[in-house]
Symmetry: C2
Subunit: 455 residues, 2 copies
């Protein structure tokens, strides 16, 4: 057989033409979204004022295994996909491990991450429905950037509520979004009822993702011709992100490579869910077993220390209730926490899979994460995003275990994006100013005490 | 024939294994470097205290058409090469032009530009010679970042003199270099005699590329085990950058595509020279004709308004004299000028080709450049560097001419890198604070009045 190249690229014609809907293969389906007032499962009619119609269909679809990717989206994908599977020869050599390490690199596009895979889909359906624009929130800024690019491509208006502390600390993210024609509003803002209420209550607040979601939803539902779109957590997002896993699997299949361990960072679950989708499908169908590891920050540990329960998706409690691993909708990660992965909950399908014991999870501290990030950058060349570096950290740990045992395991991890906009975090790391923070049991008990009461 | 894909990738095995030395095909060879004191052509012995030995050989080699790329460099190239040739379908459609537009995109690596192609070569030869480290200067920061990555890979110490105004305005560039383990010193600094002298004379100065070169050369020549390396202007750099053109030509050849017009931005000439190398070779050998356009900033117009003469390469006048198109070594582009392309001179081989009428040149203003950059970002997705956007601007102009005439020309341009670290420039553009600046004839006459007197 040929030597495995450093980068395995599919041909353009091999970019998937269908997304894979993992839920169709799940025996235990994820719990449905629930109306916050009536506690009934949300229907299409309930969701349509908030979301685009076809996205609602996708959100509710737990039976069709494959969903066609419209040609317009396929064409956009061709601008930055297929993304490469990289064999980390240099990292393996440096670690002196017998393990074979591969990563699927999603950072080679201007938004700098995998978020674009879903952004372009959501913008497309909004355009198709004849909408004027969309609203969203962004924390670290990757999603806002991706959505801005997508909206600019389809000529849609885009309003981004950006968590205020990010807005101030990441002026360059803001400028990229403006370059693509978006309006970027620091949240909480006085442009919404919820924003004004929060500002009154907490005048100096730096905002939170949950609060920005509430503002974006309020504007979407009160402005004719607008809908709300979201970059993670929802099942429709995981559906679009399945393009990552499908490409990864097709590329590995070309060389008969079967990973033993698949590792992804996990905030709301968009990357993890997308990366593992076809592999988990095989696992669910009993065709192949894989060890799948979700890596989350110790400062925001929804899988490892959260509760599997119905909770609010946003601070303003205007969104549907969602059954998921959650730290409580009022949980706030420490301000020391760098980068994303700071949402209080986790995608419902991934939550069910974790509850069923099909996914492992591990929480890591951010100084270790940045150490792994710098190590990786020096060896593999790519400056990784802090989010992606959670997966790097655990991939290195797993490879070092193989060094001890002599096992020649094949490890696949998701390198979701680049760290160009996270250099404040790197700077703190260089200057020894980065601190770890692990919430106490009391902290978590407190934030979890406010879960909604659901039968 | 197959439809041309959006991105043409070579296979890894098709990455060039030899660089192409354009000078071998030039009848009128570029003028040799000259000793500033004796006015004699610089010999290998003269240059060896400053540069690595094998790089001196390459600098002086005007006869060998091909030079083997060492395996170690080929392996590093595999981490981020081959770079794609992109068919700008979306841009063509948006412009409504019958022209076919292709660009060679060199931004998919952490240094964000083509500079890495030469950085890794220079670091390799330094390591091979058993040196401890290298010194260099950086302006916009692309070269310093690339060299830092390369030195980190080979375990070499790297000292980067960064033009002070850039050091202060681009703290993130600095942090990336630190992530790769480099020492970054704002120039002028008090670590060198020349720096101290300049600081005494001009206490508040923001520095210049010419001054940073002088400092880096002083440190290299006065510290045992160190040499100086440079990211542009020199012929050895163009040799390494020929990998761009060789890949571009090989990819186009696969689909029998022959460009009519080839466009590259030009500062010191590293990208332009690398991109056009094999095409210019054909032109010199009479095999094929191409229209080749160098695009430079109107604020630093060495080709279009400079003089073809021997000049100093640096402010401190410690480097050899070089015959090139120059604006005078004390020329300083306006502080309004965003991004790179601010060197006062131009690579000697390109200068000779321009003098011989084999290259066209055009100067463009920066507000037009940023307009083209934003337009391109919205249509093609990629956020371009301001430097690269000079080529975009002229590629769009050429495509619009085709729209008028109905000609189906094939245009190839070099997209040298991404603009992640140039968002201050984009911000100024969005806020209407970006100004154009064109030096007056008097300005140029003044800076050109200090050329060295050479027979």
């Amino acid at each position: 057989m040929d030597k495995i190249p450093y980068k395995i690229y599919l041909r353009e014609s091999e970019i998937p033409s269908k997304w894979y809907n993992l839920r169709a293969d799940m025996k235990n389906k994820p719990a449905p979204l629930m109306h916050p007032g009536t506690h009934q499962a949300m229907t299409k009619e309930d969701l349509m004022p908030v979301f685009c119609e076809e996205l609602v269909d996708q959100e509710l679809n737990v039976t069709d295994r494959f969903i066609d990717i419209p040609t317009e989206i396929q064409n956009f994908y061709k601008m930055y996909r297929p993304s490469p599977i990289v064999r980390a020869y240099c990292l393996e050599e440096k670690l002196g491990t017998p393990a074979k390490i591969y990563y699927k690199f999603e950072g080679n596009n201007t938004s700098g991450s995998h978020k674009l895979n879903s952004a372009i889909a959501q913008a497309y359906y909004a355009k198709k429905q004849g909408l004027k624009g969309v609203t969203t929130e962004t924390g670290a800024g990757q999603w806002g950037t991706a959505l801005s690019m997508a909206c600019s491509y389809f000529g849609l208006d885009c309003k981004v509520y950006m968590v205020k502390v990010s807005y101030e600390q990441k002026p360059f993210r803001r400028e990229v979004m403006k370059t693509y024609g978006s309006t970027v509003i620091p949240s909480p803002s006085n442009t919404t009822n919820i924003g004004r209420k929060i500002l009154e209550e907490f005048p100096g607040t730096g905002g939170s993702l949950g609060c920005a979601i509430s503002e974006a939803v309020e504007v979407a539902t009160s402005t004719p011709g607008y809908r709300y779109v979201l970059g993670s957590v929802l099942n429709q997002v995981l559906l679009h992100q399945s393009v990552i896993g499908l490409e990864a699997k097709a590329a590995l299949d070309k060389y008969n490579i079967v990973p033993d361990t698949i590792i992804g960072c996990a905030g709301g679950g968009s990357n993890l869910g997308g990366l593992i989708a076809p592999f988990m499908g095989q696992k669910l169908r009993g065709e192949q077993d894989y060890k799948i590891i979700a890596v989350e920050p110790a400062s925001c540990p929804s899988f490892t220390r959260g509760k599997y329960a119905y909770d609010f998706c946003d601070t303003g409690m205007v969104c549907p209730l969602c059954k998921m691993y959650t730290l409580g909708s009022n949980f706030m990660p420490s301000p020391n926490h760098a980068g994303g992965l700071r949402y209080h909950g986790m995608n419902p399908a991934l939550s069910q899979l974790y509850a069923d014991g099909l996914i492992d999870a591990v929480a890591v501290e951010q100084t270790d994460v940045f150490k792994a990030a710098e190590y990786f950058a020096r060896v593999e060349g790519i400056l990784p995003a802090p989010e992606s570096s959670h997966a790097i950290k655990v991939a290195i740990d797993e490879a070092l275990k193989c060094k001890e045992t002599g096992e020649e395991k094949t490890i696949l991890f998701g390198l979701t994006g680049t760290g160009y906009f996270d250099l404040v975090g790197y700077e703190k790391f260089h200057n020894g100013q980065l601190e770890d923070y692990i919430p106490t049991d009391e902290d978590l008990a407190k934030s979890l005490s406010k879960l909604p009461k659901v039968e």
